[in-house]
Amino acid sequence: MEGPPRPFTDYMPDILKRNMGRWKGHRMVEPGIMEHLSDSEKIYTVRAASTSNARYSTETIRKFADLADRYFGGYMRFTGAFNPEFFARTLEDARRLKKELEEMGFPVGGWGNHLWNITSCAGYFHCALAATDAPSIAKSLGDAAFKYFNQEELPAKLTLAVSGCPSACGGGFLADISIVGIHTEIPIVTENVKSCDLMGTAMICPVGAIQLKQAEKTIEIRENLCIGCGLCVGACSGIIFKTPEKTDGHAILVGGKASSIPPGTQLGRVVVPFLPNDPPRYELTVKAVMRIIETWKREARKGERLIAWIERIGWERFFEKTGLPFYQQSMDDLDLRSLMLLREGGGK
C-alpha cells in the first residue's frame, strides 16, 4: 500500500478505538497531564517537551518505545507540535510516567494557560538555507521561559516557534511569538550559475529583480529591486549570500494564532525587525521575548491570547507597555485597507 500506513486505527490502543468519538470531557490535571473521560472509561495523556527541532538519538527513541510498552501495550503518539505524548491508565501511572520522562531529561508540561511547545526548524543543524540557527534559539527560549511550561500560569495558551529563514518551516509567523531568520544582503552571482536552470531561477524572484542574460548564459541581480528574500539562493547553487555572518539575523513576530477563538486566525506581526545572530544564548533576543511575555502576563485578562490583548489595547500601547522601541521596518507600506482585506479574506 502506498502512502501512510493505514488504517490508522491499527496503530491505536484498543481503549481509543472503543471510545473513538465517544469522549465526553477532558481536564488538565496538571501541566502536561490531561484526563479524558468517556461514558465508562478514562485515560490519561502525558506529554513531554521535545528537543529543539525534535531531534533524538535512536537510544532515546528506543527508550520511548520501552515506556510505551511498559505503560500502554506499546502505544504512544507525537503531537502535531513536536511533543511525544504517552498514555496512562491511572493518574498514578501518569505521574510515574512523568517522573520517568523527567529523569530522561524530558520535562512534562503545557496545556491550558501555559507554554505549550516550541517548534523549530533545522536551521544550521541540517538545512542549507538558514539565516539563523533555529535549534539553539529554541533551546535558549525554552530555558528562559521554562517556568511557564510546567509551573506559572499565563493569561492564556502560549506557543513559540523559531524558523531559520522566511520559509518558516519551523512555524515562524504562526505562533504567539515567532522568531524568523532573515537575510539582509543582496546575493551575488558566481561562476556556478551556469549549472542552474537560468529561466527557472529568474522566474522564481518575487519582485522581478533577476535579469536573464541569455547570451552570456548568466543572470544579473538588480540591486535596487532585490529584497534579499533568498528564494534564488535556494533555487540555484550559483547564487550565494557573500557575508551571511555579517548580514544574517532574525526578526521577532508576535500575535500569530490558529484557533477560531477571537480574533481568529492570525499571522505574526514584525515587532523587532532585526536582531543579530548571537549564539549560544542570544541574550537580546531572549530578553525581548521575555519582556513581551511578562508584559502580557501582567496586563492581559484571563483567557486573552497575546494578539487578543494587543488588539484590545492597540499597537501604540503595546510598544509603550513593553518598552520595546517602534522600528520603521514594522510598518508595512501596504498598510492599507486593501491589504487588510487580503490578510483577512473570508474565514474565521
Binding site: T60, P107, Y124, A128, A131, G200, P279
Partner: protein, 393 residues
C-alpha cells in the same frame, strides 16, 4: 589531526547549549553519529555550512529524496534525508519506533527526527549510494517515504475523535481516505509548487490548517453550540454570566437562569465551549469548511487561508479538491503557491474557475469603492433576487 579553530570554538559554544531545563538537542546529538563538529563550526562562524543538493529522485520515489551537501567536507560529511509517513493522528507503536531506530542505526547516523513540523519522521544522514537500498528495505518493512517535491506534501490532521470530544468528524480517517484517493498527486511531482492539505476536527484548529494549509478542511457546525443539560444545571450563576459575556457576537443570554444561545448569531468561535468545562459542545448541525491559500512563504509572504465552501459532509470536499488541483495546475506560474496564485488572480476569478459563485461567507469585509462592472444580465438577475427577498412590486 587537530580540529580547526572554528570547531574548537564552536564546541565551546554548543557546550553551553547542553545546560538548562529544556531538553537539549545537543545532549541527544552526542549520542549519535551526526557531524556535530560541522554544526559547532557553523555557530562559531555564524553561517550555515550546508548547501542545498535539491531533491533527487530515486526509483520508486519520483518526488525525490532531499540531498544535503556539506560545504566543509573536512569536518562533516554530506548526508541525505528521508521523510517517513506516519499513521494518521501520529499514532506510533513501539515496534514501529524500534524499526525506524534500526534503520537509522543501519543507514543513517543513529538519529531520528521525530517529528517534523509537517508531522513526518525523518532519518537524516543516509549516504547517497545507500538510498536505493534503504528505500526498498524500508518499504518491505511496511512503511513509506515521501512528502517531498512539487506534489502533495504530507497531509496532517489533529488527533480528532480518537482523543478529543470536540471533533466534528474523524479527521485522521479522512487523511487515510485522502491517500486512498489522491496518492498519485502525493507520489508524482505534477504541481507548480508544493501543496499541503491540513485537517482539523473543529474550529480550534489544532492542525493550524487555516495558517498553513494550501487547502484546509475544518470541522464546524451551524447554529448554536450544544448544551449538555446535566452539566449546565450545576454551573454557578457567575460562571454562566462570564460565559455569556465572553461571546463575541452576543449570542448568549441568560433567561430564567439558563443559558440561551441564539444560533443565528453564533459564529462557531468555540469561546464559550472551551470555558464551559464540558457543559457546551459543538453543535449538532455539522458543517465542514474548506479553505484555500494558506502558506507561510511563497512569493508574497504569509497568508492565512480563505474560506471557500461549507459542506454537509467532509468527503464532499474531495471533489472540489480535484477541481482546485486542476485549476492550480493550469493557472499557477512555476513555483507559485496556491495562495500567491489566488492573490494574483483574485478570489473572484478563483471561485469562478472552480465553478463557484461568490457568497457572503467568502468575504470578511465588503468593497468600499464603487468602480463596479455589471452586465445587463447580472443586473436583471440582481433585481429579481432583490425583489424576491424584500418584496418589491
Amino acid at each position: 589531526m587537530a580540529d580547526p579553530e572554528e570547531v574548537v570554538k564552536g564546541l565551546e559554544i554548543i557546550k553551553e547549549l547542553k545546560k538548562g531545563p529544556w531538553p537539549s538537542y545537543i545532549g541527544e546529538t552526542e549520542k549519535t553519529r551526526y557531524p556535530l563538529k560541522l554544526y559547532a563550526a557553523s555557530l562559531y562562524l555564524k553561517r550555515d555550512l550546508w548547501t542545498t543538493g535539491g531533491y533527487v529522485s530515486v526509483p520508486g520515489v519520483p518526488t525525490g529524496i532531499l540531498m544535503r551537501v556539506t560545504s566543509r567536507p573536512d569536518i562533516g560529511e554530506s548526508a541525505n534525508v528521508v521523510r517517513i509517513y506516519l499513521p494518521s493522528g501520529n499514532f506510533v507503536t513501539s515496534k514501529m519506533l524500534r524499526n525506524i531506530a534500526d534503520f537509522a542505526d543501519k543507514y543513517g547516523v543513529s538519529m531520528v527526527h521525530a517529528i517534523t513540523t509537517s508531522e513526518d519522521f525523518e532519518i537524516p544522514g543516509i549516504p547517497k549510494e545507500r538510498i536505493r537500498d534503504f528505500v526498498s528495505e524500508f518499504r518491505a518493512s511496511g512503511m513509506e517515504v515521501g512528502s517531498t517535491g512539487d506534489a502533495f506534501r504530507n497531509t496532517t490532521t489533529c488527533v480528532g475523535p480518537a482523543l478529543c470530544e470536540y471533533a466534528l468528524f474523524n479527521a485522521p480517517k479522512l487523511r487515510d481516505d485522502f491517500y486512498d484517493r489522491f496518492n498519485d498527486y502525493a507520489k508524482y511531482p505534477t504541481f507548480p509548487h508544493k501543496m499541503k492539505l491540513k485537517v482539523s476536527g473543529c474550529p480550534l484548529d489544532c492542525a493550524r490548517a487555516t495558517q498553513k494549509g494550501d487547502i484546509a478542511i475544518v470541522g464546524s457546525w451551524e447554529g448554536a453550540p450544544r448544551i449538555v443539560k446535566e452539566k449546565i444545571e450545576n454551573m454557578p450563576k457567575e460562571r454562566k454570566e462570564e460565559i455569556a459575556r465572553s461571546c463575541p457576537t452576543g449570542a448568549i443570554s441568560i433567561r430564567k437562569g439558563q443559558l440561551d444561545i441564539d444560533g443565528g448569531l453564533c459564529i462557531q468561535c468555540m469561546k464559550c465551549i472551551v470555558m464551559s468545562d464540558g457543559a457546551l459542545l459543538p453543535g449538532e448541525r455539522k458543517k465542514y469548511l474548506l479553505y484555500v491559500g494558506g502558506k507561510l512563504r511563497g512569493k508574497k509572504g504569509p497568508f492565512t487561508a480563505k474560506l471557500v465552501e461549507k459542506f454537509d459532509d467532509p468527503y464532499q470536499a474531495f471533489d472540489l479538491i480535484d477541481k482546485i488541483i486542476e485549476v492550480y495546475i493550469e493557472n499557477a506560474a512555476r513555483k507559485e503557491r496556491l495562495g500567491d496564485m489566488l492573490f494574483r488572480i483574485g478570489m473572484k476569478n478563483f471561485l469562478h474557475l472552480i465553478g463557484k459563485e461568490e457568497r457572503a461567507h467568502n468575504v470578511k469585509d465588503l468593497r468600499t469603492n464603487i468602480f463596479i462592472k455589471v452586465t445587463d444580465e447580472e443586473k436583471e438577475k440582481m433585481m429579481k433576487e432583490l425583489k424576491k427577498s424584500i418584496g418589491g412590486e
